[in-house]
Symmetry: none
Subunit: 131 residues, 4 copies
């Protein structure tokens, strides 16, 4: 099974797609705290992207406390620790929720349909990941 998949044709930057894939893998429980991430160069080769792009993605994940650098021995999934305050975390999520709702409603979806869409996507999430 392939762990990460990117779409080079998308308008989402490659490094952000990689970040998203790592977050997604953790959210879905395919990666757990302590698990090693693919090496920077290995993943770069596999995805056929520049290794700087992978490095950039990993370093942002480190900055956000999602993964940890094991100096010289690669990266692992961080044990969950909250580096952001509750307020900050809520702010970050709300910053994504609001535009989603505004777009959906003005596209003609009803509130119920929006909720349904979110719910359906949430079923893909592993319950274990929230540990």
């Amino acid at each position: 099974m392939v762990l990460f998949q990117i779409t080079p044709g998308s308008d989402v930057p490659l490094f952000r797609q990689i970040i998203d894939q790592v977050r997604g893998a953790i959210a879905q429980g395919r990666l757990s705290p302590g698990d090693p991430l693919p090496s920077v160069r290995g993943l770069a080769a596999e995805l056929v992207v520049n290794h700087n792009t992978v490095a950039k993605a990993y370093s942002q994940l480190v900055r956000d406390g999602v993964v940890e650098s094991q100096q010289g021995r690669g990266y692992i999934v961080a044990s969950r620790r909250e580096i952001y305050t509750k307020t900050e975390r809520k702010r970050r999520v709300t910053a994504l929720v609001t535009p989603l709702i505004n777009e959906a409603i003005t596209l003609g979806f009803s509130p119920e349909e929006v909720l349904e869409l979110v719910q359906r996507e949430l079923t893909k999430v592993s319950v274990d990941s929230k540990g």
Copy 2:
């Protein structure tokens, strides 16, 4: 009351913030079909941005069928009509849902908490704004 607010320092482009503000005002029923939008130059002055930036935001909203241009008399909120196929509308919304969930879960929120956050934001939506 101020209708639109933007954050100049944000990584979200100014014109996109304006688009979101307009969509939000409509979704929340603060603006209804037929209501005039602030004039391009007037809003530009108020937000302290270039008029081209406001013009860009407005013209994208026109292309999405959300507002209408009234030659020489400015812009108004369009009456609701669906111009995109169901597939396209779903594609657009899903593109916003997935990263939201990945971010939220890896920040430590449970699926239930995510749903709650979405639900709370949805209560701000006007009943009139939908279909």
Copy 3:
């Protein structure tokens, strides 16, 4: 062979002429899905217009699903997908048909002649470009 040609003196805006040229090249099969478009700055230099003008044309084509942006690697012709409802697509075409007919008839053309003119132009369309 020159791919795109514009008429600077025309009353049709430059960015709209560029849009039409791209659409024409696709309709006639001179550009196929996956083919790269000229770079924004390159085309701007060739047509002796500002790069913003080309960027505006390209971004509207993206919004119409006709071309795609490939981050850092420029634009390509999109594979065909329909994003607009049948109603919207008809509305757009009809908006162009009516004035054409009124102009043609009052210029002295008979309905048959108008049809002939349209038919002749349609022979330039590539069979591959449809459906």
Copy 4:
């Protein structure tokens, strides 16, 4: 029966809509050579537009040989006389046909569908108008 109808909310300028309506009335035989047009001020009042707007439309129609000014006694539909060469008339119509086809084809219509749409609109045209 109302002779002319305009849509103030459209993005087509009012004076151009009036031109189009007059041309349409002639094309459909509701107005014939020698028939008087509504007075500038009368039509302005009826359409609730500035009389300068109507005057501008009429003067462009005069320039194109479609109507004639009867100094002080208003305007009448001109007897058909060709003020443009065959080449020029073809150039004008083709300038409208090409973008129509390019738009239609890249929106996903087949050449046959385009032809059909044009044909359907042409059925509204009176045969007498081509005299």
